[in-house]
Amino acid sequence: MRLAEHQYKTISSIRSQLLMVEQVTAVRLGEVVRVIGPDGQSQEGEVLLIDGHTVLIQIFGECRGLDLKESTVIFTDAIKQAPLSPHMLNRVFNGSFLPIDGLPTPLPEKWVPVAGVPINPTSRARPEEFIETGFSAIDGLSTLVKGQKLPIFSCAGLPAKEIAAAILKNCTLTGADQGQKQAVVFVALGLSHYEYSFYIKTLTAIETNFVAFINLSSDPVVERLLAPRFGLTVAEYLAFEKDMDVLVVITDMTNYCDALREISTSREELPGRRGYPGYMYSDLASLFERAGRIKDQAGSVTMLPIVTMPEDDITHPIPDLTGYITEGQIVLSRDLHRQGIFPPIDVLPSLSRLMQQGIGKGRTRDDHRQIANRLYKYYAKGRDLRGLEAIVGRDGMSGSDRNILDFSETFEKEFVNQGASRRSISATLDAGLAILKRYGLEDT
């Protein structure tokens, strides 16, 4: 610890949001700095690189107005921390953790570094408690459990935000009888004002407590990297110190990754696939791995990030690296959306890796696995057969093949498609079973 802040007027270069400062004698990696321009305007930044007495600084806000001669850099001797308190609930902050709801900053109970520290794998408790989202395609076939990280892979123009809103509204992390508290942490990254108002309306309408971090498309890009870290630090605090079940919704991770690329490029780092930095996997993992449960603790952090697949391409680095880290994915389909199916979830590429633990007797229902397996199997077969149908026509196909084709269509129209209604898990399973029965597929 140094005793006082120390300051320098030795900026030697300014390029986009990077400052080079010379003759610095004591500095730490990641240290927060304040830069005061000649007009008295203050910006926050962070130490990126130390090379002898030369220090490279990333500015979080705008560099406009800074100069080499008059501007002062103040080193604070602290790394980026989040001010935490229970009074953050039902508040809206920007990507720098400043309130934007017109209310005063809550008095912090403690300060915690935003980067987080890894959970010891031996301390992790198995995520296995079923969360009901109210959507059959998810609850029935790609079941979400408490402590899971399960992204929604969307495409531009698909109703991902309506799905997220419905989940925020409908999902029950804890049975009311258990007396366990539930909270939502909502992180908006690079949203348009239109999307932002949609979400704020949703959040204020739900009963659950929430904390929101909002970075709009017009806000500083670097804050896009900070906001999720604030959100997750808050989520960990609520979960592991206040025993709450926390659902973290982050939208849109594609904007996060683009911000990462933009900043990496400005630092002249070596670009990887499609210009995204080589460390994007580790960087995303440092966010997603913060989801989970801890042994002997009541709370949990469940993550539902939304990823818009550029060019609808699931092999694009953003969905690809996300899929490698998260515990499955819910994939939306443009095709189903065109047919008016809501939610337009394509169950074939969708997957919940933690489903096995979360379903069955004592969790959902005894027959869940069996119903899910059958629905999946015949729907997959039906989708294969559609290829054949396109070539030989329906008449050229055998009776049993035609039956499967009809089943698949019904499955999409009646099981996946549910409009604005919410289905309980038993309604979901009953619906699935009824469709199987209708086509004589319940026990083959």
Binding site: V27, P121, T122, L270, T315, Q329
Partner: protein
């Protein structure tokens, strides 16, 4: 050897400690973070830091430890879970709580734990280097203790011992311990390397039957996300017919390691009946743990594996995933501003990987025993693109290639190993073993099975164009036989009782399908109706 931090760039730190050697271990800053020298130039050294460097300050002290990064080897590794630096994660959680904070150090082995030692030698005996002086019961495994030095015994323990005390004394007061240290980047020596001749049974029909692995061999499992790499690695770790399994979760999920620890503590080894964890060592350097430690983790793992190999064990090392290791290497290389090769990977990626694979093999150990070390690595190609550098580098050196196919996984055909693209170079050498030990029809059925699958593919291509109605009855029969092979033989659900298949069961199962197919073919040729055959003749 002391100095100061003079620069920090991501996971690398520059120090001005004099007289360092390459790969020397270094402690950094007030928290005494751990690192390793990776680059020396006059007056300064670059250190790869195994912990989060955030908060580290210019001018903070740095100290050279005078020896390279090493693993501690001795009784107590089995059943353990370590991070990439071999920190004992269970004891860390007990001591420091559920989060891993930098700088906290505990010795990898519990040096105070009491073990039962049974001496094989007595006071007055002369021992030579490497000679076994007794055994420690490490669970059900009798862990031989080798003399590190030669001399005449003046004391040898018996009964309960702790590792921190000498287990024996030689004249002149020379101490012998039951544990040792070994630099992780240096392969442990052996007398001679031998050719792999015995299959590594995995309990997976498609592997054992179509793409057999060898004890002492290597294999890779490349596949996009969700294709079943982790499940397959874990399930091979459960069922492989080996003495010791080292499983490294390298840059993957924390939950997967937690689950494995839990599951392996409950399940039994199908071969010995002992608890699975009793033969297992876990190395967990998950994706959110420091990348430099991720880079080191596979070396920590392979060093522990070699240690048991040297005691004459058959050891299997699995790592999930080597791509994350390669990415860690890339991150470190780029922080050092090295000249990048393809896709930013350092140009030494392929040679490093080859060097790692070379640590597999069947060996005659220094003490004259036969031990083997097999390596199976999962590969996570970006975008499922197998032409990328890490996959290609693996392909060049590994002995078997088990390609996981996204299309099969989407159909929930698990394990999603593509039977046309995969291969095993051990294939020809293993057939003899299976014919002799398991079934004389092994090879015959194998060729038959491959031919059926090949023909099946061709017919399905035809059917996709002309429709299934355009096929002959004999074609329909073949499709049916192939379907049974795919569904009942190649598929194995990890969550079912069918997850493990002995070679005998494997042989029987394929034999039944193939003989049924042959009989059906004959009945069809004899003029019987196809519908009747298919309906009534199911085995």
């Amino acid at each position: 050897m002391k100095g100061q931090i003079i620069g920090i760039s991501g996971p690398t730190v520059t120090v001005n400690i004099p007289d360092l050697k390459l790969y020397d271990r270094v402690r950094l800053g007030l928290e005494r973070l751990q690192g390793e020298v990776v680059h020396l130039s006059s007056g300064q050294a670059r250190v790869q830091v195994y912990e989060d460097t955030r908060g580290l300050a210019l001018g903070e002290p740095a100290e050279g430890m005078g020896r390279p990064l090493s693993a501690q080897l001795g009784p107590g590794l089995l059943t353990g879970i370590f991070d990439g630096l071999q920190r004992p994660l269970s004891r860390m959680a007990a001591a420091h709580g559920p989060f891993i904070r930098p700088g906290k150090l505990l010795s990898p082995l519990a040096l105070d734990k009491s073990w039962q030692f049974t001496p094989d030698r007595a006071v007055g005996d002369t021992v030579v280097v490497g000679e076994v002086i007794g055994t420690i019961a490490e669970g059900s495994y009798f862990h031989p203790i080798h003399a590190a030095l030669a001399g005449t015994l003046t004391m040898i323990a018996s009964g309960p011992v702790v590792l921190k005390d000498p287990i024996a004394l030689l004249t002149d007061g020379i101490k012998l311990f039951a544990h040792e240290e070994w630099p992780i980047r240096q392969p442990r020596p052996y007398r001679e390397k031998l050719a792999p001749t015995v299959p590594l049974i995995t309990g997976h029909r498609i592997i054992d039957f179509l793409f057999p692995l060898a004890k002492g061999g290597t294999a890779i499992l490349p596949g996009g996300f969700g294709t079943g790499k982790t499940i397959l690695e874990q399930s091979i770790a459960k069922f492989a017919d080996v003495d010791v399994v080292v499983y490294a979760g390298c840059g993957e999920r924390g939950n997967e390691m937690a689950e494995m620890l839990e599951e392996f503590s409950e399940l039994a080894d199908p071969w010995s009946g002992n608890r699975l964890m009793d033969r297992t060592i876990l190395v967990a350097n998950t994706s959110n743990m420091p990348v430099a430690a991720r880079e080191a983790s596979i070396y920590t793992a392979v060093t522990m594996a070699e240690y048991y190999r040297d005691m004459g064990c058959h050891v299997l090392l699995l790592a999930d995933s080597i791509s994350r290791w390669a990415e860690a290497l890339r991150e470190i290389s780029s922080a050092m501003e090295e000249m990048p090769g393809e896709e930013g990977y350092p140009t030494y990626l392929a040679s490093r990987l080859a060097g790692f694979f070379a640590r597999a093999g069947v060996v005659e150990t220094m003490s004259g025993k036969i031990g083997s070390l097999s390596i199976i690595l999962s590969v996570s190609p970006p975008g499922g693109d197998f032409t990328e550098p890490a996959t290609q580098a693996c392909l060049r050196t590994s002995g078997a290639f088990l390609m996981l196919d996204t299309a099969l996984a989407h159909r929930r055909h698990y394990p999603a190993i593509n039977w046309f693209q995969s291969f095993s170079l051990y294939d020809a050498d293993m057939v003899g073993y299976f014919e002799k030990e398991v079934s004389p029809a092994w090879n015959h059925n194998r060729q038959k099975c491959q031919a059926l699958l090949q023909r099946d593919e061709q017919l399905r291509e035809v059917a996709a164009i002309v429709g299934a109605e355009g096929l002959q009855d004999s074609d329909h029969l073949l499709l049916e036989v192939a379907e049974r092979i795919r569904q009942d033989f190649l598929c194995q659900n990890s969550y079912s009782d069918d997850a493990f298949s002995t070679p005998e069961l494997t042989a029987e199962k394929i034999h039944n399908i193939i003989t049924w197919g042959e009989a059906a073919e004959k009945r069809l040729a004899d003029g019987e109706d196809l519908a009747v055959i298919l309906d009534k003749g199911k085995p």
